[in-house]
Symmetry: C2
Subunit: 195 residues, 2 copies
């Protein structure tokens, strides 16, 4: 947990560079296919140096995924804080989720997606907590939508199908294509809403 007592929480240092480089490489090549040497070289270090900042490769993966998950959670909680009407909340949630998944720098989501099994059980437990909160926010929004007759089904299956379709965009969306994330969010929201 909180292991750093003196230097607060986040330093703008090489440690952060390692996390960013690792995130990118994990996404591009996968966890197993990425070597410590790759990550070290990406920030101009030698092969053994990352172990000064992280006690193992697993630890690096865990940091990448956890920091990303926290950022994602913060994003949709910021949406909730705006207290928009259901329809707009739905759209904003989709927009936030797409941003988290698709925008450059957000490498964590694909990594979390693909390398879930590479995580230790303890790391997974930490993530599940955030995931539960994430899902609760969505579920509540769906319930509000149903109450406003803007959606036909607010079951947890509906939530899984909706979030699933959005998560899947990571598989086919190309940032250099014609479809902007803005438009994608709008069209996706309309697709799921009635009328």
């Amino acid at each position: 947990m909180a292991q750093r007592t003196s230097p607060a929480a986040e330093e703008p240092n090489r440690r952060a560079e390692l996390v960013r480089a690792a995130g990118r490489l994990f996404r591009e090549q996968g966890y197993d296919a990425t070597t410590i040497r790759d990550i070290a070289a990406a920030v101009g270090m030698r092969s053994g140096s990352p172990f000064y900042h992280f006690k193992s490769k697993q630890d690096l993966l865990k940091t990448v995924v956890l920091e990303g998950m926290h950022a994602a959670l913060a994003a949709i909680e910021a949406v909730l804080a705006q207290r928009l009407p259901p329809r707009e909340t739905f759209h904003a949630l989709i927009r936030a989720h797409l941003d988290t998944i698709l925008v450059s720098g957000g490498d964590f989501a694909p990594v979390l997606l693909h390398e879930w099994r590479s995580l230790s059980p303890e790391s997974r437990a930490e993530i599940v907590a955030s995931k539960d909160r994430y899902e609760k926010i969505w579920q509540k929004t769906l319930t509000d939508l149903k109450r406003a007759n803007l959606i036909a089904d607010d079951s947890s299956l509906a939530r899984l199908l909706i979030i699933g379709s959005i998560n899947w965009t990571a598989q086919w969306y190309r940032p250099d294509g014609k479809l902007s994330i803005d438009k994608l969010a709008k069209r996706t929201a309309n697709f799921f809403l009635l009328s």
Copy 2:
């Protein structure tokens, strides 16, 4: 009885056992995390023997994915051949897709999903052909549904969102849970259809 004309296409031999075992292990542990020794042991061989049947580990992965992809394509083409009305075709397509993805023995889909990047470019090209045909079938069904006013949107985005949500079931569906694949297919179809 044994009327194998040539040893060309499909023998019930050890080779098939290797493909099945590899598929299962690739899904459970990932491609990189699965060793040739794992696969060999799973069928009672020694570490070097699989290389009699496959020239490399990559070749094994390619076989797993390609055979699975062809089976999946065959499944939905069988649905098309039934010439059901749009609504029933839609339901049957979802059912077939879920079967391909979720049913035991169908390990290829999660593997294809996760280990796409581990494939050589040539292997990918072979798969893309099947994928294109797969998508065309879906797209045509969506167009028919729209014509019958059973769906609001038949754009390719709609197709991506629908297929995406179904593909994502592989991430959360548990065969030992309360929800049968039959029910899941039915409820999913109803979720996307109007009224």
